[in-house]
């Protein structure tokens, strides 16, 4: 029978040392909502689990003029209760809120969602739309990787052996900027995204879009940035032409598969619908800013 070794270090250095010096395949665990299920399916493999939730900075979330410094292991339930964070990044917080049930929220984290690197991960498009940067720490020091470069494939990330995700830095949004994340699921809750779209928008006083970033999920091996969709929005008042063009750009950028959750045609169509709706919602949010 396979054996599991479990450690719950209280400092980042200790955690890095554990994973760097492990003789067994090592896994960093935050909420464990993906990892525990994966481990049960691989009963025959001995492994080391490094639970990082006892490291204070891994579960902290601080806002300052630079933006949000988010502990990757902070559970989504605690994150979504933070009204101050939600006011700045409503789409990101909503994406975190969409992961699983209330029970899963009590465990799952943004960092775990990111490192698990599912194509359908809800927070990844929202992180990308907000220009989030991963702070990676390892025995060879520290490096900063944009989220869109962090995820390298289905279930794969850029972490080298002995490295872990230590923090997420989400820049302070420009003035008159808001984001939105929408996903499609067959039910109202509990499902994995069939398609998802995150949009961050900046509007000037006249309602003209001056900056935009669009990222879509569940329609390719990784979440993807759609510059053409952003281009379609920038310079417009989010009129029908611009929204239609943005939706079409998202649909064109999509490279989905058919599976138990949706078909290629369905995903391609719906990701356009979501992009249009997310852009509209983000703009409404800017309009509602004081």
């Amino acid at each position: 029978m396979a054996a599991l070794t479990y450690h719950a270090p209280t400092t980042l250095d200790e955690a890095i040392s554990l994973i760097a010096n492990a003789s067994l395949p090592a896994k960093v665990m935050s909420g464990g909502t993906d990892l525990i299920i994966q481990m049960q399916r691989m009963l025959q493999t001995d492994r080391l689990i490094v639970d990082v939730k006892k490291i204070p900075e891994m579960t902290a979330a601080t806002l300052d003029e630079g933006g949000l410094k988010l502990g990757p292991a902070l559970c989504c339930a605690k994150l979504t209760r933070r009204q101050d964070i939600k006011a700045l990044y409503p789409g990101l917080v909503e994406a975190a809120y969409l992961i699983g049930s209330t029970q899963v929220q009590g465990r799952a984290s943004v960092g775990g969602n990111l490192c698990n690197a599912s194509p359908a991960a809800d927070t990844i498009p929202a992180l990308i739309a907000n220009g989030a940067i991963c702070l990676v720490e390892g025995t060879n020091g520290r490096r900063r990787v944009p989220v869109e470069a962090f995820v390298t494939g289905v279930g794969q990330n850029c972490l080298e052996p002995g490295e872990m995700l230590a923090s997420l830095e989400i820049p302070q949004p420009l003035p008159r900027t808001q984001d939105a994340y929408l996903r499609f699921i067959p039910r109202t809750e509990m499902d994995i995204a069939v398609a998802g779209a995150a949009v961050s928008l900046t509007l000037d006083e006249d309602g003209i879009c001056t900056a935009a970033k669009v990222a879509i999920g569940a329609v390719a091996p990784t979440a993807i940035v759609v510059p053409d969709a952003a281009t379609a929005l920038i310079g417009s008042r989010l009129d029908e032409t611009a929204l239609t063009a943005a939706a079409a750009a998202a649909s064109d950028a999509a490279n989905p598969i058919s599976d138990r959750r949706g078909t290629v045609a369905f995903r391609r169509h719906v990701v356009g619908v979501l992009t249009r709706r997310a852009a509209t919602l983000a703009a409404e949010r800017v309009g509602a800013l004081r």
Binding site: G32, I37, A77, S101, V104, E189
Partner: protein
């Protein structure tokens, strides 16, 4: 090798040995004989094993037993007091909010968490908060009525104190 874990369950100190691969659900049910927490899926998709872990509602099947070290756990067995049921439990009975009853312990724990977080939920709030607690018998109608009634009764109780 088994790990030794010291924890608190329903306000009582508890120690147990477990394999680090064992979930908290397995530990509760098989090692500690606390079978009130039910297993419906083992993958966090049904909510039958809902428990409170350090104040957060979680599925015990998605927690390792070793994570209980130093934690506070609350299970369905701790909801009623020695001499009376919790209002939520009473309302579930009054409204016939259970048929087979296998989802009921999880729903009781989750409802308690909901009303602690939001004493005045709308029906939609309750339906979304409890979306992770599957019930196949009732169609949820009577469950939601029981939850809303329990919320109102608890608010009135608070107001009278």
């Amino acid at each position: 090798m088994k790990a030794h874990v010291s924890t608190t369950i329903n306000q009582e100190p508890v120690e147990f040995l477990c394999d680090p691969a064992e979930t908290l659900l397995k530990v509760l049910r098989d090692n500690l004989g606390m079978t009130g927490t039910k297993e419906g899926c083992g993958s966090g998709d049904c909510g039958a094993c809902s428990v409170m872990l350090d104040g957060e509602l979680v599925c015990a099947c998605l927690v390792l037993g070793v994570e209980a070290e130093g934690a506070r756990i609350e299970t369905v067995e701790g909801v009623a007091s020695a001499d009376h049921l919790h209002v939520i439990q009473e309302k579930f009975l009054e409204h016939a909010a259970l048929q087979c009853g296998i989802c009921t312990p999880g729903l009781i724990v989750a409802t308690k968490a909901l009303l602690a977080e939001n004493p005045n939920p709308t029906e939609a709030d309750a339906r979304y908060y409890l979306a992770g607690n599957l019930c196949r018998c009732t169609g949820y109608d009577k469950i939601i009525k029981a939850v809303m009634d329990a919320a109102e009764t608890m608010r009135q109780g608070e107001a009278h104190e």
